[in-house]
C-alpha cells in the first residue's frame, strides 16, 4: 500500500526539484566530508599501526639523557661527551634480556655527504654487519663485507638514482678527511618503523667504520632487543629496568616498545581524526540549515494547501508526517548520493594522501560511509522537525485565507 502522504511529499519534492536538489547537495557534501575525513584518519591510523607493529618484537633502549646535537656534524671532538648506552650497560642488558633475545647495538648520527658533486645530508647508522640482517632486509646487492662498504635505504637510492657500486663521499667540503663509501646493497623500504631506525633515507655502515670516523666507541645511540616471544616483553622490560635504573630519580636508560609508542602515536592520530571529523561536521551543520530553509519555504508556500488538508479532516499527525517524509526524501537522496560520493572521493583521497588503499575496505575505515549516511539522514529529519510541527499546528482558517 502506498501512503498518500508519501505521494504528496514525493510530488512536492518533484515540483520544487531544483530547490530540493540544492538542499540535498548540501547533505551530499556533508556526508562526503564526514565519511572521507573519517576514512582518511582511520586509514592513516591503520597504516601507522601496521608499520609499527612490524617491530612488535623489539624493545628499544636509549640513554635517558638527551644528546645535544649530532656529534659528527661539525667535528669529532664532542663525541666523547655524548651520552649513550655504554658497554657496561650493554652487558647488563644482555644479562637481563637472557640468551633467547638478540641484541643489536646501533650507532647513529647525522652526516653531510657528496654524491657526484651534489652535497646532501642524511642519517648514518653504524651497525655490526652480522646484526644488520637480523632486523633489516637487503632488497638488492649484498651485506657489508669490506671496511668501506655501505648500504643505503630505498628512498635514498631512488632520490639519488643510486646503483650498486656507486660511491658516496662522506663529510663537508671543509673537512680534512673525506672518506669514500662504496654502496654494496640497497635496503627494502621500511616506512616509519617502530624502533626509530628509519633506514629509508639513511646510509648504513659497519660499526668499525662508524667509530673510526666519528669516535664514540661503545657508546651506542640505542640498543634494540629483539625478543623471541613478544609476550615476554613486559617481563624483560621490568628486569632491564630493575638492573639498570637502580636510581629511580635519575634513570639511566629509557625503555620503550612498539605497543607503548603505538598507543601514544595512535592517540594523537585519533585526535587529528576527531578534529577533521569536526570540520566535516560543520559542513553538515551548513547542510542542516539549508534543509531547514527549504522545508520552511515548502511549508510557507503550501500554507493554503495545509489549510485545505486540515479543514477537510486531515489529522495533525498526518500533516506532520507529510512534511517529515519530505525531509526524509531529501535526506535519503542526499545520503545516497553522498554515500556513493564518499566511496569515490574517500577512495581517491585515501589513495592520494596515504599512498595505499589496502586498509580502505576494512570495517574500521569503511564503516564511515554508512555512519556518514545515517548522520546525514538524521540531520535532515531533525531539520524537518520544526517545519513539520509548524505546518501541523496551523490554524486551518488562517491557513485557508493565505494566498
Amino acid at each position: 500500500m502506498k501512503d498518500i502522504f508519501f505521494d504528496l511529499s514525493v510530488r512536492s519534492v518533484r515540483l520544487n526539484f531544483m530547490r530540493s536538489l540544492l538542499a540535498s547537495i548540501g547533505i551530499v557534501i556533508g556526508v562526503v566530508a564526514i565519511s572521507s575525513m573519517g576514512m582518511l584518519g582511520t586509514n592513516m591510523q591503520l597504516q601507522v599501526k601496521d608499520q609499527l607493529s612490524s617491530g612488535a618484537d623489539t624493545i628499544v633502549i636509549t640513554a635517558d639523557a638527551v644528546r645535544m646535537g649530532p656529534p659528527g656534524s661539525s667535528s669529532t671532538t664532542s663525541t666523547s661527551a655524548a651520552t649513550g648506552i655504554t658497554k657496561t650497560q650493554l652487558n647488563k642488558i644482555k644479562l637481563a634480556a637472557g640468551p633467547s633475545s638478540t641484541l643489536v647495538p646501533i650507532y647513529s648520527t647525522s652526516t653531510q655527504f657528496t654524491l657526484a658533486s651534489v652535497p646532501g645530508r642524511s642519517t648514518v647508522y653504524g651497525i655490526n654487519p652480522d646484526d644488520i640482517t637480523k632486523f633489516l632486509t637487503i632488497a638488492n646487492g649484498t651485506n657489508i663485507g669490506g671496511v668501506n662498504d655501505a648500504l643505503v635505504g630505498s628512498t635514498f637510492a631512488t632520490n639519488f638514482n643510486l646503483k650498486i657500486g656507486n660511491r658516496i663521499r662522506i663529510g663537508k667540503d671543509t673537512d680534512a678527511s673525506r672518506p669514500v663509501l662504496r654502496i654494496v646493497g640497497i635496503l627494502a623500504p621500511r616506512g616509519m618503523s617502530s624502533d626509530n631506525v628509519n633506514t629509508d633515507n639513511a646510509i648504513i655502515v659497519s660499526d668499525d667504520w662508524y667509530t673510526n670516523q666519528y669516535g664514540g666507541k661503545d657508546i651506542y645511540r640505542q640498543v634494540n632487543v629483539i625478543v623471541k616471544n613478544i609476550d615476554t616483553i613486559p617481563d624483560i622490560e621490568s628486569v632491564i629496568d630493575a638492573k639498570l635504573n637502580t636510581n629511580k630519580k635519575s634513570p639511566e636508560v629509557r625503555i620503550s616498545d612498539a605497543s607503548s609508542r603505538l598507543s601514544s602515536i595512535t592517540s594523537s592520530l585519533s585526535s587529528i581524526t576527531t578534529f577533521i571529523l569536526a570540520i566535516g561536521g560543520i559542513s553538515l551543520l551548513v547542510a542542516a540549515t539549508s534543509i531547514f530553509n527549504v522545508m520552511m519555504m515548502s511549508v510557507n508556500e503550501r500554507i493554503q494547501e495545509i489549510g485545505i488538508l486540515l479543514s477537510i479532516g486531515t489529522e495533525k499527525g498526518e500533516v506532520r508526517r507529510m512534511f517529515l517524509y519530505e525531509a526524509v526524501i531529501l535526506g535519503i537522496l542526499g545520503a545516497g548520493v553522498g554515500g556513493i560520493g564518499s566511496l569515490i572521493i574517500g577512495y581517491s583521497v585515501v589513495s592520494y594522501m596515504i599512498g595505499t588503499t589496502k586498509y580502505f575496505f576494512l570495517p574500521a575505515s569503511f564503516m564511515y560511509i554508512p555512519i556518514g549516511m545515517v548522520i546525514g539522514l538524521v540531520v535532515c529529519i531533525l531539520s524537518g522537525l520544526y517545519p513539520a510541527w509548524k505546518a501541523s499546528n496551523m490554524d486551518p482558517i488562517d491557513a485557508l485565507r493565505a494566498e
Partner: protein, 224 residues
C-alpha cells in the same frame, strides 16, 4: 419532536484584535433540522464566514454552545473535531480548494484514505465523481488543468465521498459563470433531495431561492 441536527444556543464569537474586540457572532440561537436546505445571506462582515467556520468545526464559540449531530463542539478534543470534519461534514468552498498536487480522482479519494487509512479499492471515489457529472476522462488531470465548473464538481465529489450528513457550501457558485453556477446548484438540489442537509452561504438572491429557508445575518445577528 425530533432533535435538530444543528443547534446554536446563544452562540457568540468574539475576536480579540489590537484595535479592540470584534464581535463576529452576537448571541446567535438557531436550529437546523435534518435534511433542511438553508441559505445564509448578509453583507460582507455580517458574520457569514464566522458562522460557516463554526459549522465546519474549524473554530469554537467564545460563548454559548453549538451542537452538531448531538455533540457539543466545544467539548470535543482536537482529534475528535478533525474526525467530525472528515466524517460528518462535507465542505464546499468558493475557491474549490482542491489539493494542487493530487489528480481529480485522488482529490476525491483523499477523504476515503483519511477515514480508512488505505487507498480506495471499492470504486466509491470514481462512482461519486461520476454522480456529479464529472467527465471520467479527466480523472487523472490535476486541478490546474480543469475548468472552474469541473473543479467545483470534483470539490463536491470530495465533500460527498465520506457520505456526510451536512454539506456546507461557502459561495459555491461565486467563482463560476451563471450557467455553470446553476448546474452546480442543480447538483446540490439533487443531493438535498437524496437526504443531505445543505447549508449555503451566498450573496446572490437567485441562488438563495433554491433553499427552503433563508437566514439573514447583519452585524453578527440574525435579522430574518
Amino acid at each position: 419532536m425530533t432533535t435538530p441536527l444543528i443547534r446554536f444556543a446563544d452562540v457568540s464569537k468574539v475576536y480579540h484584535l489590537e484595535s479592540g474586540d470584534f464581535t463576529a457572532l452576537d448571541h446567535i440561537s438557531l436550529e437546523i433540522m435534518d435534511n433542511e436546505f438553508v441559505a445564509i445571506m448578509g453583507p460582507s462582515g455580517s458574520g457569514k464566514s464566522t458562522m460557516m467556520n463554526q459549522l465546519g468545526i474549524l473554530d469554537v464559540p467564545t460563548a454559548g454552545e453549538l451542537f452538531i449531530a448531538e455533540r457539543n463542539v466545544a467539548s470535543l478534543t482536537a482529534l475528535e473535531r478533525t474526525h467530525m470534519r472528515r466524517d460528518t461534514i462535507g465542505y464546499i468552498f468558493q475557491k474549490f480548494y482542491l489539493i494542487p498536487l493530487l489528480s481529480a480522482y485522488e482529490n476525491v479519494e483523499y477523504p476515503l484514505i483519511l477515514k480508512y487509512k488505505k487507498r480506495d479499492e471499492s470504486g466509491k471515489a470514481a462512482d461519486v465523481l461520476k454522480s456529479v457529472g464529472f467527465d471520467e476522462a479527466m480523472s487523472a488531470h490535476r486541478p490546474n488543468q480543469l475548468s472552474g465548473g469541473q473543479q467545483q464538481r470534483v470539490a463536491i465529489a470530495r465533500a460527498l465521498v465520506n457520505d456526510p450528513k451536512i454539506l456546507l457550501c461557502d459561495e459555491p457558485t461565486g467563482n463560476l459563470d451563471r450557467k455553470t453556477g446553476f448546474q452546480i446548484m442543480d447538483i446540490l438540489c439533487g443531493l438535498h433531495r437524496e437526504g443531505k442537509t445543505v447549508i449555503l452561504v451566498t450573496h446572490d438572491p437567485k441562488i438563495a431561492e433554491y433553499a427552503d429557508r433563508i437566514i439573514t445575518l447583519e452585524d453578527g445577528r440574525i435579522t430574518a
